[in-house]
Amino acid sequence: MSGVLAVLEQRDGVLRKVSHEVVTGARRLADASGGAGTVDAVVLAAGPVRGTDALGGFGADKVITLTNGAFGTYAPEGCATAIAARATSGRYDAVVFTASATGKDLAPRVAAKLGVALAQDITDLAVEGGAVIVVHPVYAGKALLKLKLTGTPVVVSLRPNVFTPVQRPRAGAAETVAVEVSAGRVRVKQVKAAEAGALDVGEAPIVISGGRGLKEPANFKVLEALAASFGGRAAVGASRAVVDAGWRPHSAQVGQTGKTVSPTLYIAVGISGAIQHLAGMRTSKVIVAINKDKDAPIFKVADYGIVGDLFEIVPRLTEEIRKLHG
């Protein structure tokens, strides 16, 4: 690949961490078949973006900030126009997004503008015989599709947490360009933020999910305490049973009809491990299960299990993790 465009994300003028993964994935494509390829990373914002200086470390040759007053919040039409224009003028072989809420919205718009193929939410990518080969989980994770994408550029979005950032230092030269595009007809009027600092289960490196075993909604504070002991790196997820019961918001649901998560560590607490739940978390790197039923199916996919009452085990775990983090 001679040139790859990595599309980054910022919020409130701060680069989002998934951007490191996007640059990492783009670097992998650029290094495939020869390794002479360059990675340009582009971020759309209303002004300067904090955090872009770290991107050279992950393999960006150049970081381009495209500024426009309308880019303070997500402007789908304006952003798609600006990225498509950049992709065309830069003659890239591939354009790489993150499969976040924004990336999944933006990538099809850009692909359609460019008239090229798109693979969303991929978990692996390579170049074989000049074509881009990607892996994409289907049927709720019960199968993997290996797809060959042809045409130029190919457009992909990367499943969060799968492309672990690696240091492959490049120049990371910075450039800021003011772009002239209209914001478009679709306008974000407001962003109702979840609790300050709350991590999204789809992106958190550690996810602690609770199920019906928690007995009642108030008991989720036990899991929140455990999450807090990880020092802001953990999010609290939930099974569908407790989301349907109104104990937790839908945004926390993990599984076939909820979110697909791939954290480094997934802790399932009081969750039986129904196939539809497994669909959303089986690609986690390490799975821990806590359940009082030793025959619960969750133990079949868990790397480590503890059999017993969660109300005894989780507080003890919280205490031990706190000790570690001093």
């Binding site: 718009r109 692909a111 090229v116 969303q120 199968a143 797809l147 390490v286």
Partner: protein
């Protein structure tokens, strides 16, 4: 209100997934085919909007094999007014090719709203709706979980990481629907009977014009379809709170995640 809903016939992969002998396709033997669940929410939304407006039409459109007529009949039984089957034997693996065929059908329809599911649960492409919007030059909001329409503009809410975006858009527009926007109705017996008599137009199409490397044309080719890697058999560390220190040790020294 004139509303179109694009619906897909998909394998009900909830029950079982067996890969075909060619290593690329789904073994369809014994598989039940259903209306894509996200499209069910879209059909329901169209019906509610039409009922609220007191006038209009809800049209369902599917690109698929002859059997997709059944999928269309399901939507008609829910209450849609008529259906269009864009008939092909090869549903493209390339979402853009599907989008092109649907866009051509939708182009001169004069729709106020064009609804899609957020994704099809068979191939998880997650792209056809916004691509159609782009091809038709229409405003688009994806993964809509809450919707209000007043006159010729609307407000939608969509979930993003750590929050909810409140989005305004003018009509006509393309929306893709997230689970939870409404509670889809079950077709009543009366609806099922009525559906048999509702118009269903069958139009043969050739996605991708027969060119391109992938199935059904286009630039996406399925190289292989494989089961996910098995997770290696885990182990029970112990029972009760007493097992916690050993778990911590394993997470640190063996799994190296702490």
């Amino acid at each position: 209100m004139k509303i179109a809903v694009c619906i897909k016939r998909v394998a009900d992969s909830e029950t079982r997934v067996k890969i075909g002998a060619d290593g690329k396709s789904l073994d369809e033997a014994g598989v039940k085919f259903i209306l894509n669940p996200y499209d069910e929410f879209a059909v329901e939304e169209a019906l509610q909007r039409k009922e609220k407006a007191g006038a209009g039409e809800a049209v369902v459109i599917a690109l698929g094999p002859p059997q997709a007529q059944e999928t269309i009949r399901t939507a008609l039984a829910m209450g849609a007014d008529r259906g269009v089957l864009l008939q092909t034997d090869e549903v493209p693996a390339d979402g853009l090719e599907t989008a092109k065929v649907l866009a051509a059908e939708l182009k001169d329809g004069g729709y106020d709203l064009i609804l899609f599911g957020k994704m099809a649960i068979d191939d998880y492409n997650h792209q056809v709706g916004p691509m159609v919007a782009e091809l038709l030059g229409l405003p688009c909001v994806t993964t809509v979980a809450h919707l209000e329409i007043a006159g010729d503009s609307g407000t939608a809410e969509r979930e993003i990481e750590g929050g909810v975006e409140v989005v305004e858009f003018p009509l006509p527009a393309v929306l893709t629907i997230e689970k939870g926007l409404n509670e889809p109705r079950y077709p009543a017996l009366k609806g099922i009977m009525a559906a048999k008599k509702k118009p269903l137009d069958v139009k043969p199409v050739t996605p991708g014009g027969g060119c391109g490397g992938g199935r059904g044309g286009g630039r996406v080719e399925v190289v292989a379809r494989v089961p996910p890697p098995e997770r290696k058999e885990g182990r029970i560390v112990g029972e009760g709170a007493a097992a916690v220190p050993e778990l911590i040790r394993l997470l640190r020294e063996e799994a190296k995640v702490l």
